[in-house]
C-alpha cells in the first residue's frame, strides 16, 4: 500500500477508472425506475433484485470522499445523512436538514441521494 494520501497527480489509472465508471453510469442510469426505488424503500438491507443490487454495488464502491453515511442524531430515534471526507481527521459533513426516524429510513434517504448524483452526473 502507498500512503493513504499520496500525490495521485501522476496516477494514470484514475483516467482508466473514470472512463470505466462513465460507461458504467450510462448503463446504471437505465436501471433506475420508480419500482426499483420503491423496492429499496421497502427493504434497504434485504435481498434485492439483481438490477437494484447492481446499483448498490456501484454506490458501495465510490471513492471514499464521494461516499455517504448515516449519522446518529439520537440513538434509535433520529438520523441524518452525511458525506464522508475521505481524509483522516476531517469530519463527515451533513448534506441536508432531513431527519429520519430510523437508520433504515436514513439508508433510503442516502440511496435517493446516490440516485440523484447518478442521474445528475
Amino acid at each position: 500500500m502507498l500512503p493513504l494520501e499520496y500525490d495521485r497527480s501522476q496516477d494514470r489509472d484514475i483516467v482508466v477508472r473514470d472512463r470505466f465508471d462513465n460507461f458504467r453510469r450510462d448503463f446504471l442510469r437505465t436501471l433506475v425506475t420508480p419500482e426499483m426505488i420503491e423496492e429499496h424503500r421497502r427493504s434497504p438491507l434485504g435481498q434485492h433484485s439483481e438490477r437494484l443490487e447492481r446499483l448498490l454495488i456501484y454506490f458501495r464502491q465510490r471513492p471514499l470522499d464521494e461516499r455517504y453515511a448515516v449519522k446518529v442524531v439520537e440513538p434509535f430515534r433520529k438520523y441524518q445523512v452525511v458525506r464522508l471526507s475521505g481524509h483522516r481527521g476531517t469530519s463527515p459533513r451533513v448534506v441536508d436538514e432531513a431527519i429520519y426516524a430510523s437508520a433504515n429510513e436514513a439508508c433510503h434517504g442516502l440511496f435517493l441521494r446516490c440516485i440523484r448524483d447518478l442521474l445528475e452526473a
Binding site: 500500500m1 502507498l2 500512503p3 493513504l4 443490487e53 449519522k71 446518529v72 434509535f76 481527521g89
Partner: protein, 774 residues
C-alpha cells in the same frame, strides 16, 4: 467553552476483589469527575431488548475525583541510553543508516537519527524535509539552522544507504545517499528509470551545539508540545536497518565499505546498532543493541515493529527466524500508539466480596447536553473459583478491533458489509482525534497495516452501548453483555475470565469450571489459549461456543505485557490489509500470523464448526435439523415449539447473522458431531469465506451458495467433555428478546443445565441404533 470530555483506561483489566487497580483519566473542559463503581449487566441499547443496565456498587473510591488533561506521546521511535553523552558530538562525526521510507513526501519534517532538539535548535540530525529529500543539519541554538540537502528525492518503499559526515577542522559537511534496492526488497524494480543516488557537500559556518538534556533518538527528535513539555517530534515513517556513528568524518571509500554490509571495527566507531542482534525464534524484544564499544543500547517507545525485511533481504526466506541478519528492518510510524503513559489519576482497592463480573468506573462530568460520561471497564475474577460456569470475555478480540475506523477510510468496508455506515458521535470524534491510536484493522497513514493494539489507552469497543458503525449493531463488549444479562436473569451461578487469564494460566484458568461459555466473537487466539481450550475440552470440560468466527486468527502476546496484542495478516484469510512478504511472522513470539486454519488448526477441529461466511444487513433464523430429534441430543431442543429457532434478535432481527460458522468434516469436525439446527435464506450480502475457495467467482453469495449458513452443533468429547456451538455472532443477541423468554434462550438453558450437572450428559444411555430416533 471547551466541551467536557472524559476518557480513561486501567493498568490491567483482569483483577480480583481486594486488589488494587490504577485508573488513568484524561479530562477536557473539567477538573472534576463524579466516580461511581458499577457492575455492567446489559450493554445494548436496542429498544427491542432490556436496554442498557448497570448496577451501582459501594466502593470507597466513589465520589469526586480530581482530573486533568493528560499528554499522549503518539508515534514509535527509539531512544538511546547514552548517560556519558558520547553522542554529543562537538567536533567531527559521521552518521550512517540503511533506510526505507514509507511516506517521504509527508509534508512534515522527519528525523531518521540524530541528537537534535528542534525547539531549541541545538544538535544535529539526518532526516527528510517536507518534500521527501534527505537532509543533514546542525544547529547551535541560533536562529539559522545549517542544512545540507540531497539533490534527488527519496523514493517511497525503496532501500537506501545514507550517511552524513562533518569535518570540524574544515567545516565541510557531506551527504551521501545510495539506493540499495535489489530484486525483492522494494517497490520498484531495476526497469524503473529513477535516480536514487545523491552526493552533496557544503561548508557549514559553525559546529553543532549540544544540550545535555537532548536524547539521541532514532525515528524522531526532541520537541515541545503546546504546554512546553518535552516530547518526541519530527517522527519518521518507514524502516531503519543497521545504523551508527563515528567521531570522525569517514571517507567515501569507508562509507562504501559500510554500504556493502561491513562495519569496520575502528577505534572511532562510537556506536553501531545491529538491529538484527538479539533475535530468538520465540520473539524479539524492544531493546536495539549497540554492538560497538560503548553499548549505547536503544529502547523502543510505542513498540516499533521489529523483524521486518531489511536492506539485504533477498527474498529466499520468509521469516526472521531463518536468516535474522536479513530481517534487521525496524518499522516506525508517527501514528503508532501502544501506551498513553498517562499519570495515574487514582489507585482503587476493590471491595472484598465483589461478585465476579464485568465492572466499570463510571465517570461523569457536566450536565444536560454538556454531560460527558465514560465507563472505564475491567473484569473481576473470583478470589477463588467456586461457580460451575465461567464466562470468558474475548478481550484479545476487543483489542484487535479497538478504535477501528474502517467505516471512514477503508474503501472496501461498505462492500463487505453490504450496508452504509451508521456513525455515532463517538465514532466521528475518534476519527478526528489522533491521540487514542488505531486498531489492527486499520492502516497507518503511510498505508502499512497496524500490527499492535493495546488497552493502555481508551478503547471504545470495550465500553457498554458501543455499536460498530459498519454493521450498526452492538458489538465487542456491548454484545457479549447480552450473555451476562442472560446468565444474570437465570439461576445459574457464574464467574468471569478474560483472554488474558487464559493466555497466562493456560488450561488451569478453565479447569475449575464444569462449563465454559465463550463470547460472541472469540476470534483472536494465541497458541497457548488454543491449546488450553483444546486440553480443557479433551479433559472432560464442557464448552459452549456462543458465537461465530471464533478461534480463527493468530495473535501474539508477550509475557509480562498482556495489554498489547500483535496481529500479522497473511494472504490466506479475511484481512483488512496484508503484511509484506517476509513479514508474516509475529515479533512477539515467532508464530506465523494469519488464520489458524492454515496451520492445521481449523476451528472445526476444536469446536465442530468454523467460519463459513459473513456479511451485514438482515439476519436469519435457524431451522431444526433431523439430528435434533435423535435421542442422544433431543434434550437440547426440549421446550422449543416448531422448527424455527431465533427469528428475532438485537442484531438485525435474527439469531444467525454477522459471521456464520458451519460443520465441515474436511476441516476436522469430529465425526460424531450432530447438527441441531441450521440457518438459511441469507441475503447476497453474505459471502463465502475466502479461506474456503480457491478462486473468486460470481455466485459465492447467500442466495447462490449453500455454504452461506450457520450450523448449531453438538458433540461429546473424551472424559465426559462436550461442545455445544451456536454458530453465529448474532446468536447471543437473540437471547434478551422478549425479556429472555424465547426459544434461543430455551436451547441455551437446556445446554447449560446439562453441562453444569455432575455426572454423565443427557442422552448417554441411547446406544442401540434402532431406538435412537424419537
Amino acid at each position: 467553552m471547551t466541551p467536557v470530555r472524559l476518557f480513561g483506561y486501567t493498568d490491567r483489566i483482569s483483577v480480583k476483589p481486594g486488589e488494587a487497580i490504577q485508573f488513568y483519566v484524561s479530562a477536557e473542559g473539567t477538573e472534576t469527575a463524579e466516580a461511581q463503581l458499577v457492575r455492567l449487566i446489559h450493554g445494548d441499547q436496542n429498544p427491542a431488548g432490556p436496554g442498557f443496565v448497570e448496577q451501582e456498587v459501594a466502593c470507597t473510591a466513589n465520589g469526586t475525583w480530581r482530573v486533568e488533561r493528560q499528554f499522549t506521546q503518539v508515534g514509535s521511535f527509539l531512544e538511546v541510553d547514552d548517560p556519558e553523552g558520547r553522542l554529543a558530538f562537538a567536533d567531527s562525526f559521521t552518521l550512517f543508516a540503511f533506510i526505507h521510507p514509507t511516506w517521504p513526501a509527508s509534508g512534515k519534517r522527519q528525523t531518521i537519527i540524530g541528537r537534535w532538539d528542534g525547539d531549541r535548535k541545538q544538535g544535529y540530525g539526518i532526516g527528510l524535509d517536507e518534500k521527501g529529500c534527505l537532509q543533514f543539519w546542525i544547529g547551535r541554538g541560533e536562529e539559522t539552522v545549517e542544512r545540507l540537502a540531497a539533490d534527488v528525492p527519496l523514493q517511497v518503499q525503496m532501500w537506501y544507504f545514507v550517511a552524513a559526515t562533518f569535518d570540524a577542522r574544515t567545516r565541510q559537511a557531506t551527504l551521501y545517499q545510495v539506493g540499495v534496492g535489489n530484486r525483492y526488497n522494494g517497490l520498484l524494480g531495476k526497469v524503473a528509470l529513477v535516480d536514487y543516488d545523491s552526493h552533496t557537500s557544503a561548508i557549514f559556518r559553525s559546529k553543532p551545539g549540544n544540550l545535555a538534556s537532548t536524547p539521541f533518538l532514532m525515528a524522531g527528535s526532541r520537541g515541545r508540545d503546546a504546554q512546553q513539555r518535552a516530547c518526541a517530534s519530527e517522527l519518521y515513517w518507514g524502516k531503519i536497518d543497521r545504523c551508527g556513528a563515528f567521531d570522525q568524518p569517514l571517507q567515501p571509500a569507508e562509507l562504501d565499505t559500510i554500504r556493502s554490509g561491513l562495519v569496520p571495527a575502528m577505534e572511532n566507531l562510537v556506536a553501531f546498532w545491529d538491529t538484527s542482534a538479539g533475535y530468538t525464534d520465540r520473539g524479539i524484544g524492544d531493546l536495539v543493541v549497540d554492538v560497538g564499544w560503548h553499548k549505547l543500547n536503544a529502547r523502543g517507545y510505542n513498540r516499533p515493529v521489529r523483524g521486518q525485511t531489511g536492506w539485504n533481504w533477498n527474498g529466499f526466506t520468509d521469516c526472521f527466524r531463518l536468516a535474522p541478519h536479513e530481517f534487521g528492518g525496524i518499522e516506525f510510524h508517527a501514528d503508532a500508539l501502544t501506551d498513553c503513559n498517562w499519570t495515574s489519576t487514582r489507585v482503587v482497592t476493590l471491595p472484598r466480596g465483589l461478585k465476579s463480573g464485568c465492572y466499570a468506573m463510571r465517570l461523569r462530568s457536566g450536565s444536560g447536553t454538556r454531560l460527558s460520561e465514560e465507563h472505564v471497564v475491567f473484569f473481576v475474577r473470583p478470589e477463588k473459583p467456586q461457580a460451575r460456569i465461567a464466562f470468558l470475555f474475548p478481550t484479545l478480540t476487543y483489542l484487535a478491533f479497538a478504535n477501528e475506523r474502517l467505516s471512514f477510510d477503508h474503501p472496501e468496508r461498505e462492500a463487505l458489509t453490504g450496508q452504509p455506515a451508521v456513525l455515532s458521535d463517538i465514532d466521528i470524534e475518534m476519527y478526528m482525534r489522533a491521540d487514542f491510536g488505531l486498531s489492527t484493522y486499520d492502516m497507518h497513514a503511510d498505508g502499512s497495516g497496524v500490527c499492535y493494539s493495546s488497552y493502555h489507552r481508551p478503547i471504545m469497543n470495550m465500553r457498554p452501548k458501543y455499536r460498530t458503525p459498519s454493521f450498526d449493531v452492538a458489538s465487542g463488549l456491548a454484545a457479549d453483555l447480552s450473555i451476562i444479562a442472560w446468565l444474570d436473569q437465570s439461576d445459574f451461578d457464574y464467574e468471569v475470565l478474560t483472554d488474558e487469564d487464559l493466555h497466562r494460566d493456560g488450561s488451569a484458568a478453565l479447569s475449575p469450571y464444569a462449563c465454559v461459555i465463550s463470547g460472541t466473537r472469540p476470534e483472536y487466539y494465541t497458541e497457548r489459549m488454543l491449546d488450553a481450550t483444546e486440553d480443557y475440552i479433551a479433559g472432560g470440560g464442557r464448552y459452549i461456543y456462543a458465537g461465530g468466527n471464533g478461534f480463527n486468527a493468530t495473535a501474539g502476546v508477550r509475557d509480562g505485557e498482556p495489554w498489547i496484542v500483535e496481529c500479522r495478516r497473511r494472504d490466506d484469510g479475511y484481512k483488512p490489509w496484508i503484511s509484506r512478504y517476509g513479514e508474516h511472522y509475529m515479533a512477539t513470539d515467532g508464530m506465523r500470523g494469519g488464520p489458524w486454519k492454515v496451520l492445521g488448526r481449523a476451528t472445526q477441529k476444536l469446536v465442530g464448526i468454523g467460519l463459513s461466511s459473513s456479511g451485514g444487513g438482515r439476519s436469519e433464523p435457524y431451522r431444526r435439523m433431523p439430528d435434533s430429534y435423535h435421542r442422544t441430543v433431543s434434550w437440547i431442543t426440549k421446550g422449543v415449539d416448531g422448527e424455527i429457532i431465533g427469528d428475532f434478535g438485537l442484531a438485525n432481527n435474527g439469531a444467525a447473522g454477522l459471521a456464520l460458522d458451519y460443520y465441515d468434516r474436511a476441516l476436522g469436525t469430529p465425526p460424531h458431531t450432530r447438527i441441531i439446527a441450521s440457518s438459511g435464506g441469507h441475503t447476497d450480502s453474505y459471502v463465502v469465506n475466502q479461506q474456503l475457495v480457491l478462486y473468486s467467482y460470481l455466485g459465492l453469495y447467500g442466495s447462490y451458495d449453500w455454504r452461506v449458513h450457520a450450523d448449531m452443533t453438538y458433540f461429546t468429547a473424551p472424559h465426559g467433555g462436550a461442545v455445544f456451538a451456536c454458530g453465529s455472532v448474532a446468536f447471543a443477541q437473540s437471547l434478551p428478546v422478549n425479556n429472555f423468554r424465547n426459544n434461543s434462550s430455551c436451547v441455551l438453558a437446556n445446554v447449560v443445565e446439562a453441562f453444569v450437572r455432575a455426572g454423565r450428559l443427557p442422552g448417554f444411555a441411547w446406544v442401540n441404533e434402532e431406538k435412537q430416533w424419537a
